[in-house]
Point group: C2
Chain length 649, copies 2
């Protein structure tokens, strides 16, 4: 049976190239997702805006700061404003909101006013350290901030048609283009935190300006070339840099810190996912984007190699990535500790972004299996059910005491979740001239125009709690096109009917997408039935942390056992291998959520028992109740385990 983490095999005969359906052409009216997106609109975005005001971030753009003033602007601040504008713009795309739009316009006015005559735009370097502009690319996140401004500008113009921010970032990018490159007098460098590279491809796509694509290509190509830019930069500057105090072992471990920012090798020679996991994902996204735009097979080959490495060696079963907080990133192959897992929410989001790009190149459901796994687990665990508290890191086990924080305690993950959820529509559908591809299932509509004929596809169903997904075609004119549906790797027995006729999925399915090409008429119905059942997953024997243990899954969800349902000492709970996994109604306190139950066993003891004994401990029957991982830590800060000990028999 296919596993979600199987390596995709490149399609031998490539299918038609498709592109994500624009956000404005997708509506989501879904019992699972709509309330979450609504929470972002109603709570997160306003709260975030308030924070931008109250913490001084907006004010910093007025460039009134003088030495001695408190607070001191921070090098990241502009990116927080940018991510809020980006998320707000996505929201405005599908949900007009004059007040929000006015707030966005106001922020953009501040940005425009903060822009220097030469195009430079960064509140920190404009007032706090004006003489240090572009002197610490390794640490200071200058181009990273620029990248987020560019992403915000692209989202804004697509949402509103206004070029206000786009003009600002183009002016800034023109300066960056002059300043960076291989010509004499240019700085031959790149940023320590990737982000601008993928942003430049977006900027190219929205403006059509080749030079933005070439600049992105330059940053990606230059990365990791020798002599190492950051070494030269540090020597030239003669100071340890912004994070010199934080990374005290940097001088002794140059290779570690090159890997930290994926600058240890030219990107085409990189074969392993290393370093800071968010940085890695953003780089790989840019590599995939450039491969699509330029047809560069060597970049594509590197992407495939890195994908394979990441998903077969360094990815948690939840789609979380990054095993250690120390570098917010990767460690060694198969080193996937559960309790100390970092698995940053932003990194799982980065994996979603990259996986979506990859399936647009090598159309393959295995990419989306990973995307879906990350989305419903490693990403979604980052936000509480009430939408108001967040995890930065997402451990797969807890001995208790682990709780989400209110979003303003952390900087990057809540806005990143906000922009992913408000742009979720981009990840559901892709369209080509004669094809609609459905990657993810969520009720709503998709609008596209095969052969120029306006068509709306309605999607209905109770996914992911219900395996039936129904599509209805709405068109004034019958039209021929292919409807391609991703067949999730976790569904062991899917069926598909088109206008009540069964489709032979063995024939129709190529690389995880079942495709039906026909003349479609208004009202045609397609019914996809996925098999939802409790399943067991086992980690590769090289994963020491999961030896002898099993993870439970149900549809796209990874499950966990929590103290709220199972009592404490979860390590003493075992699942016999032969025990059936039953589907049960919501566990107490988790309305609307499907639970899995099984006849488990539990070691028993008395407190007075000796610490070591020559006889094995007694076990008793114990009902095991598992709930979806994303929903953990919503019922107190008790113990939790994704991997449950399995017993033979």
């Amino acid at each position: 049976m296919s596993s979600p983490a199987q390596e995709p095999t490149p399609t031998a005969a490539p299918t038609t190239r498709v592109a994500p359906l624009p956000l404005r052409d997708v509506t989501i009216d879904d019992a699972f997702w709509s309330p979450r997106i609504e929470t972002v609109r109603k709570k997160t975005l306003p709260f975030q805006h308030q924070q931008l005001l109250s913490t001084g971030r907006m004010d910093a753009l007025r460039l009134q700061w003088r030495p001695g003033d408190d607070p001191v602007p921070h090098i990241f601040w502009d990116s927080d404003i940018a991510k809020w504008i980006e998320a707000a713009s996505y929201s405005l795309t599908t949900q007009p909101d004059p007040k929000l739009e006015a707030q966005v316009d106001e922020a953009i006015e501040l940005l425009a006013a903060a822009q220097q005559p030469d195009g430079y735009l960064n509140s920190y370097f404009s007032v706090v350290a004006p003489d240090q502009r572009f002197t610490d690319l390794r640490d200071a996140h200058e181009l990273y901030c620029a990248g987020h401004l560019i992403e915000a500008a692209v989202a804004h113009v697509e949402a509103t048609g206004k070029r206000t921010l786009l003009d600002v970032v183009c002016h800034y990018t023109d300066l960056i283009e002059k300043r960076f490159g291989r010509e004499p007098g240019q700085l031959r460098g790149y940023d320590g935190h990737e982000e601008i590279e993928l942003a430049l491809v977006k900027l190219y796509r929205v403006t059509g300006e080749d030079r933005y694509l070439r600049l992105g290509q330059y940053f990606v190509d230059e990365r990791g070339q020798r002599p190492f830019f950051f070494d030269e930069e540090t020597e030239r500057r003669g100071t340890p840099g912004f994070f010199g105090d934080h990374f005290r072992d940097r001088d002794e471990n140059p290779e570690k810190y090159r890997e930290y920012m994926q600058s240890h090798l030219p990107v085409r020679e990189q074969t392993e996912a290393v370093g800071h996991s968010v940085r890695a994902m953003y780089l790989y996204c840019a590599m995939a984007d450039l491969a699509v735009e330029t047809g560069d097979e060597s970049l594509l080959a590197a992407c495939r190699t890195l994908w394979r490495h990441l998903t077969t060696r360094r990815m948690y079963v939840t789609g979380g990535i990054g095993s250690t907080a120390e570098i917010e990133g990767f460690t060694e192959d198969y080193d996937l500790p559960n309790e100390s897992a970092y698995a940053e929410t932003c990194a799982a989001i980065g994996l979603v972004l990259w996986a979506s790009r990859m399936t647009h190149i090598d159309r393959n459901g295995a990419y989306v299996d990973v995307l879906e796994r990350a989305l419903y687990n490693g990403v979604l665990s980052g936000v509480a059910l009430d939408g108001e508290r967040f995890f930065y890191d997402n451990p797969l086990a807890s001995r208790g005491g682990v709780e989400r924080h209110e979003w303003f305690d952390v900087a990057c993950c809540p806005p990143n979740i906000a922009r992913l959820l408000t742009s979720l529509g981009r990840y559901l559908y892709s369209a080509g001239p004669e094809e609609l591809v459905v990657h993810l299932y969520a009720a709503g509509t998709a609008r596209f125009a095969p052969q120029g004929v306006p068509v709306v596809i309605e999607q209905r169903g109770g996914y992911p709690w219900d395996g039936e997904v129904r599509f209805t075609v709405r068109t004034d004119t019958p039209v021929e096109f292919a409807l391609s549906l991703r067949m999730p790797g976790w569904s062991a027995a899917s069926t598909l009917t088109v206008a009540n006729d069964a489709v032979d999925l063995a024939v129709a399915t190529v690389n995880g997408y079942a495709s039906v090409r026909r003349q479609w008429a208004d009202g045609d119905e397609v019914v996809l039935q996925l098999e939802l059942a409790g399943r067991r997953e086992y980690a590769h024997p090289a994963v020491a942390a999961d030896a002898g243990a099993v993870a439970l899954t149900y549809g796209p969800f990874v499950y966990c056992v929590e103290e709220a349902d199972n009592g404490p000492a979860l390590h003493d709970l075992a699942l016999p291998r032969a025990a059936a996994l039953d589907v049960a109604p919501s566990p107490a306190g988790l309305a609307g959520v499907t639970a899995l139950t099984a006849a488990g066993r539990r070691h028993t003891s008395q407190e007075a028992d000796p610490l070591y004994s020559t006889g094995p401990w007694n076990s008793t029957d114990a009902q095991l109740v598992a709930a979806p991982y994303y929903a953990w830590a919503n019922r107190g800060a008790g113990e939790m385990r994704v991997w449950v000990r399995e017993e033979a028999g």
Copy 2:
């Protein structure tokens, strides 16, 4: 079956009070121990002396240091000299060595010359910070160093009869006695690192001076009283103290750092082993010593409570203690992580010292079961088979890369092992007017004089690899006394014969000691036969780290699996519950060591296998080879595990 960690029950009808046989009355001529003790004599002591010279420790006593000189004497340095003198003195007790004795005399001359006119003796505070004497009891280890000097002086006078160092430390102690106490003008404090308390009892015993006992009692009684001395001291001094930089969270966690040095509560109210584990052991030793000397039942009750807590909640199966490097000590009940175990060698030594004291109060073999467990495992793992490299911390699992260091890389453990091994004779036997007690088995002789008649007991056998221990009585005059032999808790079927007559152990054994009282004549033979067999031990179900796993033991030894015998990926190795444990000859590279083998199972995989799979992994038969834990990391720095996964069936 009794377990080594069972709580001892106080003897209802106390047996005769006995005392450890003086070191000079014990010889060790044992295949297991003698080579180790010889290595200390021939290698460790000379090497250590060389280090004291080459690192500047001896020179520091000349008090010639001036600001700007390098190296700067360190606050611990005097204690390193003291521990070397102590170990050397034990060695001189049983093995005259004029060169070593001359080196000791020379060091003592330096110490005597460094003593200030008022008796004060500390090289650091005499030259580096003369104005800070007794201003940072919490961090500066001043009385700790004094305590080690006292222990050295006691060992030295007992070994050589020379009072040179004893006079020096008495002079110093007189100053300490004047300076510390509850009278007006005195400093009402105590040291952050316990040590002087137990040393003062030794000083009392060797000098007969009551005031030294009273001073020790004062330090123990004062500890943890409110208002907290260290709080007052810090406020008075107005600086963060010597370790202010190291313990950055100290101000925010006052309770944690009170527990760190067992100063959170008056000692009689302490019920849990907390904080720095070596400090805790030294305190508990002093409490036991004072209980013996003063008959203070409340101190004794506290010792019993703390013993029970430590050995039923916070002790590794190896006798190692201290779960975290962060505070070099204890964490929570049942929190016994294996790979990150601290289990400092010195702490296991401290447990040996305390256990020996406890069985002299509450005569009970269970104390010695713990002592023996710690000695043969948690202590002995601290030194390589060649005696030249040392572990400071002793993890119970390694993913590879863990190696011992040459002794000069670390400060406290090698000298502590040296003084334990050179004084090992003190822990084997105790004697009373009409009784000889044998706590531990090792070939050699014990000399004592029941009812004034000189008797030598010869002990022979291949313990611990062979379960037969033979005793022969040598006496010119038949004499009546009791011979009491500890019956190890791990021997499920012991037998005892006296002059070929079987002893009914069920009758003869009280609290783990089998006692035979009779008229003994020259040549009388006693044969103890212990059952040596591979055994399984299970951790209390509350120990999360060991859930589903089993530890193997054989006699006093805890075993482990190593990569050298079992290949890598030890987490994939499992021991079926029904598999027999066979005794096998030495594993390759570990001559003279008994191995345990069993028919195990091993998960198998290909590197190309997916990271997560819906089917359980294949297993194959795999011979499991376990070797004694103390001998690990002598054949490369491969993987190791004490706790092996157990499979049903």
